[in-house]
Amino acid sequence: MLLLLIPSMLAVLSVVREKELGSIINFYVTPVTRFEFLLGKQIPYVVLAMLNFLLLTALAIFVFGVPFTGSFATFAAAAFLYVIVTTGMGLLLSTFMSSQISAIFGTAPITMIPASQYSGMINPVSSLEGVGAFIGQIYPMTYFVIISRGTFSKALGFGDLSSAFLPLLIAIPVLLGLGIVLLRKQAR
């Protein structure tokens, strides 16, 4: 959940801070494309989130003594895709927001509520119904939870968890594409 909240919040803040300070004008007046702008904003936070992922995994294994039984490469690959998705969510949200306060107060519930209620962390997604089940099925964290449980506790590898990678892979171009479409290259 931390890998969802903090990277998306940082990504939102990175764009919204520029809007507040007025330095977004540099983006408007230079020939940088929207895709380059979003990717340039996303990559540093993906790197930072991967460092945080390694830190969290080390804490779980070495400090709390959680046995890691599966494939670490699978887990790391899933985490890489997942942090791209979470930062992409942040960048998508930043296109709607114009102040840092709204960015923080908007991002926290938008990311945390589906993550805690519908992603299978507390109740299995299969036990949900209606809109809750739909959110659970399309929310990327659901699949990261499946992969992390599978690699930590069930000694699973890529072959067993490949179906959970597909939604993460689909979410990346969808979020980035929406971000590109919704980000304005001109001020209103």
Binding site: V32, E36, F37, L39, I43, P44
Partner: protein, 64 residues
Amino acid sequence: MRFVNILQLGLKELRGLARNPMLIVLIAYAFTLAIYTPRRCPKPSTGLRSRLSTKTNRRYPRAS
């Protein structure tokens, strides 16, 4: 797509992050102490729960 633009934007972002030490401290705290501290503190309910479970085990040995 020009990779130089993406690289320069990314480096600018990292420089901006480095100029904001409180944000770095907050990130470091969120991923280390914020996780470590609450998990390591003894919870007041733990003793009660263990006492209750011991009682339950004694009364219903097969239940556990």
